[in-house]
């Protein structure tokens, strides 16, 4: 078999060196009761060509050649060709976690650059080397707030991605962390500040908002911060559309930013793998979960990088760790790093401007349901969203996300997203069908 680099004669030599007559003897010490006495019920191995064929067939059973107007936390953006050129290099793809700094300076340097760029984008002091994804970054950020404030209660806006809120509930349930929602204004689509103010109290550890929020609307981060800080709670700001940071003012009033970087050259890939990130203020460094890369020197005085502040982590602190996380999404974060490099200061802004233009063109031909300012996603009324989407599918277009599944009060609406990849002609068709 092509992945097993031993010839039969080599196996024989090795068995002899082990003082064993046959490979089966290597397992003779296992108790009878545990041995599997039949072959695995799986078909025999197949060739490379058959493997490709299998997956090509599966791919053909998915959507192919459709224009898509889905956003809702996963966005279609161009992937610069350099991204795969870089991450396909064996030295990045097949390397291990950089615990041995002397032979991992490539990974460590790239992560240090990643951490820096995330700080620059979000306006925070420090960023970690990535979390599994945006949805799990939220409970991690909340845990940070709970640890830092010594309080337990969490308030989360209903306009935060509904699946992210579900994940928080799963984590919070067993930590004695009461989680309560607060609403959004039906006209503007921004958070209901009065509702938030009423609900925030002196035992609130964190207020969680998303901007742009799930409806695509730039939310009232500053006002939320005032309310939270007045009561000694921390403000956590979530983002799911990283491209928005190319144009939008970063959340300077946040204590912790928890985000998803899928927009940065990470294939939608039916839901993962993605890369989340947590960025925060200097004072919360020791409460941060996840790996951190720091700058240092070697004994010859050369600049070098290494994993640091490891005592926060599970392999040392065990049950008192800031999190149980071991993996970071290093390769995925590298994709984002390459994208941020390719676009750079100018390009990220231009990319965001194109997104803005496309979405506003489409919105201009429809009428957004909310009055709030939006980036590249917006909500429209559509009396029978499923019917509309059926009609669009016939024209090889995947329409917006019908919101009824997450917001019963918005069952007559859908969430549309347009990015730099959306074509005018397709947007015109969507506008026609929705009219």
């Amino acid at each position: 078999m092509r992945y097993l680099p031993k010839s039969d004669s080599e196996r024989r030599q090795m068995l002899e060196a082990c003082g064993v007559a046959s490979p089966e003897e290597l397992f003779s010490h296992l108790p009878e009761a545990v041995r599997l006495k039949r072959p695995l019920d799986l078909p025999p191995g197949i060739s490379e060509y058959e493997i490709v064929d299998y997956f090509r067939q599966r791919a053909a059973e998915n959507a192919n050649g459709y224009a898509s107007f889905l956003g809702a936390g996963v966005y279609s953006h161009f992937r610069p060709v350099l991204v795969d050129s870089v991450v396909s290099r064996g030295e990045f793809l097949t390397s291990y976690t950089p615990y041995q700094a002397e032979i991992s300076q490539g990974t460590l340097t790239a992560i240090f650059e990643f951490q820096t760029m995330i700080c620059q984008l979000t306006g925070m002091d420090v960023a970690n080397a990535s979390m599994y994804d945006g949805s799990t970054a939220v409970p991690e950020a909340v845990s940070m707030a709970v640890r830092s404030t010594g309080k337990k209660r969490v308030l989360i806006a209903r306009s935060v991605h509904p699946e992210y809120r579900e994940v928080l509930r799963t984590y919070a349930r067993h930590q004695g962390m009461p989680v309560e929602g607060f609403g959004y204004l039906p006209e503007a689509g921004t958070i209901d500040l009065e509702d938030l103010d009423r609900k925030t109290d002196d035992v609130t550890a964190a207020v969680v908002v998303q901007s742009p929020n799930f409806f695509g609307i730039v939310d009232k981060v500053k006002a939320a911060a005032e309310i939270a800080h007045r009561r000694g709670a921390l403000l956590i700001v979530v983002f799911t559309e990283a491209v928005s940071l190319g144009l939008l003012e970063p959340p300077a009033d946040a204590d912790i930013v928890a985000g998803e970087l899928q927009s940065f050259a990470i294939s939608p890939s039916y839901g993962g793998p993605y890369a989340g990130v947590i960025a925060t203020r200097e004072k919360f460094i020791r409460q941060m979960p996840g790996r951190l890369v720091g700058q240092t020197t070697d004994s010859r005085g050369n600049r070098a990088f290494c994993l640091t502040l490891s005592t926060r982590e599970q392999h040392i602190r065990r049950e008192k760790a800031t999190s149980n996380i071991c993996t970071n999404q290093a390769l995925i974060a590298l994709m984002a790093t390459v994208l941020m490099t390719v676009y750079g200061k100018q390009g990220l802004r231009e990319l965001a401007q194109q997104n803005l233009a496309k979405a506003h063109y489409l919105a201009g031909r429809l009428s957004p349901r909310f009055s709030g300012r939006f980036f590249n996603e917006f909500v429209v009324r559509a009396s029978k969203p499923d019917e509309i989407n059926k009609a669009l599918l016939k024209k090889k277009i995947i329409g917006g996300l019908p919101l009824g599944r997450f917001y019963p009060e918005l069952a007559d609406s859908m969430l549309l997203c347009a990015t730099e990849m959306s074509r005018r002609a397709d947007m015109d068709v969507v506008a026609e069908v929705l009219a």
Binding site: M14, L93, Q120, V167, L245, S267, V293, Q314
Partner: protein, 492 residues
Amino acid sequence: MITKVRPHLSQNEALLFERSSPGKIAYQLPALDVPPVDPAEALGAENVRSEIPGFPEVSEVEAIRHFTRLSTWNYAIDHGMYPLGSCTMKYNPRINELVARIEGLAWAHPYQPEALAQGSMEVMARLEAALAEIAGMDAVTLQPAAGAHGELTGILLIRALLEKRGNPRKKILIPDSAHGTNPATAAIAGYAVENIASSATGVLDVAALAQLVDRDVAALMVTNPNTLGVFEENIVQAAEILHAKGAMLYMDGANMNALVGIARPGDFGVDVLHLNLHKTFSTPHGGGGPGAGPVAVKKAFEPFLPVPRLKRSGKKWAYDYRRKRSIGRVRAFYGNFGVLVRALAYILAHGGPGLRNATVDAVLNAVYIRKKLEPYFDLPYASPNMHEVVFSDERQAKLGVRTGDLAKRLIDYGFHPYTVSFPLIVHGALMIEPTETEGKLELDQFIEAMISIAKEVETDPQLVKNAPYGTRTSRVDEVTAARKPVLRWRPS
């Protein structure tokens, strides 16, 4: 004599920000086919940022050179063996990369209509079935993003079942040889951790277990084979002790590479386990992730699995969201699909008999290393080892040289170090796992290197203590990095 490596010039490279110049670009977007929009008008002037301070501005050539140069400073599986214990650093098949990038799979949006996602759903269903068969379990969730995430999911599943039975209980037993994620996970799931010491032969002490298991114990978390590479011979008995008191047996599947096709956790009493696709199932580590940590369970836990579940609806796949007992979601969407594709490709390539052969080779490689190195390094536990072997630095420590030093010297010989100082129950541990994708030549070079280093310790301990010598950087100052953390670049 070092035969595997020779010095070689590698390029220096500054940070991106130090290479930046205003106006350099590496991109070009197509022209807009719609009218541009004034950001201040559309978003409100107060919401529009000025430029991103310090963000890089480099050309495409510089970008490619930058990352290429950085890559040459890394060691990787493609270069040679990683003897890292319990990491299972096996070959990452390139076909996996190709199939994961097929457009219909790579561009699939998790919210696209189910009718247009049947291919992805079939892939996931097929993988669930294969993993269930390999693990000897009844149902699998592919949602967890990594091993630790899978552990958390698994413990939450145990809690949910126990709650339904009337008492979630208070503590989880964890062997002192366990990986750090185990106690960290238990704590996050709201359980107290109680350590159980290993026996003199390094395996689970069932007498001690019998004493400790009471109605306050929710589960025992084991790794099997354990972190010494030794099969837990009393595992069936341990399961019986736990089940008699209504407690569960959780298995950390980190060491599945010793068991695939040979023994199935479901057959020896395990109730819930997680698997590491980035270990046993060859998906690439990529410098630290992504991974995936599917959880396999016995039937009783099925109602509690994360939502949604795949179900058959006529001839098609559909998602079942009506799962009243589910523990909820552990992440958005369905799982690290791109990683799942790679793992399935690996399983298809080996097939049933092939997976077993891989296990046999993995164990043969580790036993071979043990035999060859036994004369030179102290072996704290005499029990037969499986896919990994753990030595201690006792002999070398007498001459002032510790496992960490030996590991650094191994770098000069052209290898990545083995796992240093873990498991904690061995003083000065050297934990070595070759995996099945190492050939005899590589193994022999590794063995020669280790023997040579053992000899160096006797003749010139200082040489070993100050290693490595051949790397781009010498040992880095981790102390200053921790005392005065510098976690980002700033302009001077």
